[in-house]
Symmetry: C2
């Protein structure tokens, strides 16, 4: 059994680190979202654009895109439908596996990406990257990497 006195409560230090991490994540997402708003994009839209624009032939299978953006298949499907209606991507069927579909970046999607990316990078710098010394950023990266790995293992199949 787990009694109260057994529980290894967080120390003040730990509590503070934890809450700060939470606050930063949330506030940062809100801020980035606000900075993208003038371009008519959400964070989710933008992330899809990034993934597709970095991919071979600017296209990815729905499943792969879902995996790399850490979304459910259902959510991605709706998301792509919206972006398709907005003219940013289109679906293309896959020859080698007739169950499959590609999400493909349209020319308009590509142009949007090239136009918005500099502003988004500026936003990420202003509200995150440039607020660290390069040593601190390096330390952040190296201490966070094992956490990411742990969490990826933990979830296994979505």
């Amino acid at each position: 059994m787990t009694t109260d006195s057994d529980t290894p409560w967080l120390t003040d230090q730990e509590q503070c680190a934890w809450r700060t991490h939470l606050d930063v994540s949330r506030l940062l997402m809100h801020q980035l979202e606000r900075d993208l708003q003038p371009f008519g994009l959400t964070n989710n839209d933008y992330e899809i654009l990034v993934n597709l624009s970095e991919a071979e032939d600017r296209r990815l299978r729905m499943s792969d895109l879902a995996a790399s953006t850490l979304q459910s298949k259902s959510r991605l499907s709706h998301q792509i439908t919206r972006m398709e209606n907005a003219g940013l991507v289109r679906r293309e069927s896959c020859e080698s596996d007739r169950r499959g579909l590609y999400a493909v970046l349209t020319d308009e999607g590509w142009d949007t990406m090239r136009r918005v990316a500099p502003h988004h990078v500026a936003s990420v710098r202003k509200h995150f990257i440039d607020l660290f010394t390069s040593e601190d950023l390096q330390a952040l990266r190296s201490s966070l990497t094992p956490v990411a790995e742990h969490l990826r293992k933990e979830r296994g199949g979505l």
Copy 2:
């Protein structure tokens, strides 16, 4: 004007730190959510419970609760309605300011909190805190704190 070559793109190091931070935030929230599921609570529910249970008389004004959980008033209002239906909190009117309402933890809410908290702390430890050395955690806290401050200023009034 902002041409492409002007843009201070992220270096590989920066890119990696940034994406790792993003992944950790998202994966961690999903994981905590999963760990709370057996108790019938969401992360949002739990955070409300924490805030109320730490507050004077286990009650907070709606506005204060919205501010401390970084939610919009609208969202909080819905959230509290749901938790009220679940019997975890109740609304009480405020004598000193008849516009205002308190969200108050019910006995059931308090019991739920005491029962769930040990498991949640364990989850936070397992998937986050205990994956750092105490020096790394300290470094994390101290480098993230200014970022949180910056972001809080930036948003000003929700």
